[in-house]
């Protein structure tokens, strides 16, 4: 549940190439109608990842609301597939493109291709390569700011529990968003007087891995009083490990992202804070921006969305509920 997809496995890619090619093609074909209506294409880096499905959901919902036709394409984490998808979208005569690029580095050829076509393009989750300017808007999460906020919150959790040692379950640090989160968090820990004793990076992004890592983290550092989760599965796994060890409440947990699972854990008091990354919100805003461009309305080139905190106390407030609805669709689970 993160805007950067997992390391692509060629085999799995193969699997999904088959299944998702079919899955993506069918509804898209049904939705393309002749007429004067605008059509927007959402090109996802990998629809294996729920995060991108939720972005897609947001984009689709907003498109419907604005009366725009919507098609969806999956790049399977491959820059080559991504280029193919852009060409396919052009062939199908779309008027605007919203894309979560496979990586920042993969964007220049896409922008070069779109340059003379006069088609607005908005990025979600991952921004374009620095220096590129020929795009309509980039809608991202403010990872650095969110990292600071969450760092401050987690340090507070540790202090409430009579300590200052914290541990981190991190996304792979070769990712730009992970580096930004970590940078923000480290600054906050330093400012608040907390000690980050261990950073464990995930490889598979599974709950199982996070459980084992939390166990190892607490074995090595029994005096850790709070855990910083950088991705949704981290908190789910940490919660499970704490439940098994009878440490619920004694060790605090907060995480970025948010999902039905972590929302439930928040309500149950197993974890203490969620910094919502508005996946659906990114899709909504990106479609709004290209629509503005098509209709001549003003656009915002850089649109960093905040990652608002929700806690067990305010989760049922109308404000928090509204925010949650900008994260995941109702089909994913309860808010």
């Amino acid at each position: 549940m993160t805007p950067f997809s997992m390391t692509p496995s060629p085999l799995r890619g193969l699997a999904l190439a088959t299944a998702l090619a079919l899955a993506a093609a069918a509804p898209a074909a049904a939705e393309t109608k002749p007429g004067k209506k605008f059509t927007v294409a959402y090109i996802a880096p990998s629809l294996d990842i729920s995060y991108w499905q939720w972005v897609a959901y947001g984009a689709k919902t907003k498109a419907k609301e604005l009366g725009i036709d919507y098609i969806e394409l999956d790049s399977h984490n491959s820059p080559v597939d991504q280029m193919t998808n852009v060409r396919t979208a052009l062939t199908r005569g779309v008027d605007a493109i919203v894309m979560g690029p496979v990586s920042s580095a993969s964007t220049p050829p896409v922008l070069r291709l779109l340059k003379d076509k006069n088609i607005p393009v908005a990025f979600t989750g991952i921004g374009p390569q620095p220096g590129e300017t020929d795009y309509t808007s980039t809608v991202t999460a403010n990872n650095y700011e969110a990292g600071r906020e969450e760092g401050k919150f987690v340090c507070g959790l540790a202090k409430e529990r009579g300590g200052n040692k914290v541990g981190m379950l991190s996304l792979p640090q070769d990712r730009e968003n992970a580096q930004k989160y970590l940078k923000g968090a480290k600054e906050a820990f330093a400012a608040e007087g907390c000690d980050l004793v261990q950073v464990l990076q995930t490889k598979g992004l599974t709950v199982r891995e996070a459980v084992d890592q939390t166990n190892d983290l607490l074995t090595r550092n029994p005096d850790v009083k709070a855990i910083y989760g950088m991705y949704d599965e981290a908190a789910t796994g940490a919660a499970k490990a704490l439940q098994t060890q009878g440490l619920v409440g004694k060790v605090g947990v907060a995480t970025a992202d948010g999902s039905p699972t972590t929302v439930r854990l928040l309500r149950e008091g197993v974890i203490q804070g969620l910094f919502l990354q508005e996946a659906g919100g990114q899709g909504i805003e990106a479609v709004q921006q290209v629509y503005n461009a098509l209709t001549g309305a003003p656009v915002t080139k850089e649109l960093p969305l905040p990652e608002p905190l929700v806690t067990a106390k305010d989760i049922d407030s109308p404000e928090a509920q509204a925010k949650l609805k900008r994260v995941y669709p109702p089909s994913a689970g309860q808010y």
Partner: protein
């Protein structure tokens, strides 16, 4: 030409009248396994130099819990490898059957029913593998690559990629309950699985057939051994072990994810090879496969406890496999 013994009757070498003692024979049969067990102890001792908690009960319980799913999957994979086949599909079978169980539970099935459904899917995948390999005569690598790909994609298809939180209040008992007083189920199932399989492989005719087929399938067929039936059986068993393992894991972390088995396939094959199985078949043991799985987990645990960047885990595991294989080869060459 100059030797004087040439004409003398050749002295018969001293005759061993009886077989070697039971202990000596066990030592010989389980030479590799004993070496791995010693290596595991050694690794733990080395890790405990950095992190004394490594040998604590809590950490050992964590290692046992973390290795349980891998052990169960490896047992099934070992059966296939022992017949000189290969099963690449276990990882995706693990994911898929976990998703099936999760779906069943969230649809309101009681957990034993959901488990049966899940086991049925595992057996089904194994039966497809087995039928294509034995009765159609396709190469195991190709067949299981296909079922791997299809299984991985179906794991996403069944729930549209969403992960499912398991809320059934009793399901945890499958993993964490105690069928036999004093022994947690996951330990019990692993030990029982290994013991039963080892017994069958050593003491039942069926087990000897497995090795016979792996040793020389053509000869086995000429000898009238039911090669096709046994081959079919091992693939079914592999699917069954993968799905059972998935249920255990699901019962523990109470969260089913479409990617949960992503790393398992290579780890399980590695576990078998570390445990003395040859990819050409005919060698190895269930105990070896278990120890291989434990060793992989112990390395992961050790890397985290020492605080090495987890990106190095793959390298460390790889090197340990290489060392294990080299030692095995070296000692065999001398024996």
């Amino acid at each position: 030409m100059t030797d004087t013994i040439a004409g003398a009757p050749v002295q018969a070498p001293p005759v061993r009248p009886r077989r070697a003692g039971a202990g000596t024979r066990l030592l010989r049969v389980y030479r590799t396994e004993i070496a791995i067990a010693a290596a595991i102890v050694l690794i733990e001792l080395v890790v405990s130099l950095w992190s004394p908690q490594a040998l604590s009960f809590g950490n050992l319980a964590n290692v046992a819990q973390a290795s349980a799913p891998l052990i169960l999957v490896s047992l099934g994979v070992f059966l296939v490898i022992a017949t000189s086949g290969i099963d690449l599909s276990v990882g995706s079978t693990f994911s898929l059957t976990g998703m099936v169980a999760g779906l069943g539970l969230s649809a309101g099935l009681s957990w034993p029913v959901a488990c049966l459904a899940s086991l049925g899917v595992g057996i089904g995948v194994g039966a497809i593998n087995g039928a294509l390999v034995t009765f159609v005569g396709l190469a195991p690598f190709v067949v299981t690559l296909v079922t791997f790909a299809v299984g991985a994609s179906l794991a996403f298809v069944v729930t549209d990629g969403h992960s499912i939180a398991i809320l059934d209040p009793d399901f945890w008992r499958l993993n964490g309950g105690t069928l036999v007083p004093g022994v947690v189920n996951y330990v019990l199932f692993c030990i029982a699985g290994v013991a039963l399989l080892e017994f069958a492989l050593r003491k039942l005719v069926l087990g000897r057939w497995v090795y016979a087929i792996g040793s020389n399938a053509k000869a086995a067929r000429l000898l009238g051994i039911p090669v096709d039936a046994v081959r079919f059986g091992v693939y079914v068993a592999s699917g069954l072990f993968a799905s059972f393992s998935s249920l255990m894991s699901l019962s523990y972390i109470s969260n089913s994810e479409a990617t949960s088995g992503a790393n398992l396939m290579l780890q399980a094959i590695a576990a078998c090879v570390i445990g003395g199985a040859s990819l050409f078949g005919g060698t190895g043991s269930a105990i070896g496969a278990m120890l291989g799985a434990v060793m992989i987990t112990v390395i992961q645990n050790g890397v985290n406890l020492i605080g090495i960047n987890s990106f190095w885990q793959g390298s460390v595991t790889g090197l340990v496999i290489l060392v294990a294989v080299l030692i095995d080869r070296f000692t065999k060459a001398r024996a």
